[in-house]
Amino acid sequence: MRKIVAIIFLTIVGLYMLSLFAQIPFGKPYKGVSEHYVEKGIEENRGSNLVTSIVVNYRGFDTLGEVTVLFLAATGLSFLLFSCKCLREFKRIRSSLVLRTATDTLFPLILVFGAYIFIHGHLTPGGGFQGGSVIASGVMLLFLAYRKFHVNHKALSTLESLAGISFAGIGLLGLLYAKSFLANSVLPLGQWNKLFSAGVIPLIYIAVGFKVGAELSGLIADMISTTKED
């Protein structure tokens, strides 16, 4: 009964939305602010990756919010799961030798790869979030490989705080120097397609990378710590 009603009303809503999308041209040129972003992006930011320019500079405030959301999730999670040994019947089992050996080899590489991604965020695809996620995946691998693996919550938390503060701090510096929060005029813009270019964008993305890496690792650690260990 519930299913039928649900399907009926979902179909109704779906039809309305389909009728909307039928009117939206697919794959056609765009207008509006994006033109500005594409056309002036290099001139104003010197970052090759326009998406990064938008994410960190034009819409840097969104990204600050985004970082906050992730921070919030990490905080909320550790608030809710604090000293909760909720999932007692699940045990972390001993992993295979293959996994452990592979982890030992891969983990440093993963770290380097993640760092590479967020350091080159303004030049190549990717950035702080992607790099951070890659790093966190390395940490997850460690959790999978070693039953007794623990993260140092204190260090993670400090790292995450410092990274967050530096992001907001860079923003405030912009306010101080260019009368605009998060303005990209603290550092020189530099040359296009060079590592040291695009003003504060790489700095911010490094901070974001650290922050995301620390937070996601913390999330994983919090989730895992709800299970019983032996």
């Binding site: 399907i7 040129p29 056309e39 290099i42 985004e66 999670l77 799961l81 989730m223």
Partner: protein
């Protein structure tokens, strides 16, 4: 067009799960599917046929002799930037939902909706 339809379908599959499934984890999965649908939709909104990614690593993408990029050669970068934010937010919500479910499980040893209908009327 097919991208629109597909992502709409994803959204509605996710919604359907939230409307019908009795298992809390399944509902969270539904929400994630819904998120994915939305993200796909956003990306497909920015797509332009025959254009390249918004990463200006080649000189020929510029207009002659300036730092001004030729708009007609690059897809819309803004939806890609937006979707990044949307993905992260989706992750955060999922994490919160999962942690709440873990706690719920510890209280009642169950993750069925029927055991969580105390608040009503």
């Amino acid at each position: 067009m097919v991208f629109f339809a597909a992502s709409l379908l994803l959204i509605f599959i996710g919604l359907y799960a939230a409307l019908v499934k009795r298992n809390l984890i399944k509902i969270i999965i539904g929400l994630s599917i819904m998120d994915t649908g939305v993200n796909m939709l956003i990306i497909s909104l920015g797509f332009v046929k025959g254009r390249t990614a918004p990463i200006i690593s080649l000189k020929e993408l510029f207009k002659k002799g300036t730092w001004l990029v030729d708009v007609s050669k690059v897809v819309d970068p803004l939806p890609q930037a937006l979707v990044l934010t949307a993905i992260v937010i989706g992750v955060a919500v999922t994490a919160m939902a999962l942690s709440v479910v873990i706690r719920m499980y510890s209280v009642k040893k169950s993750i069925e909706i029927d055991d969580f209908k105390e608040l009503k009327w």
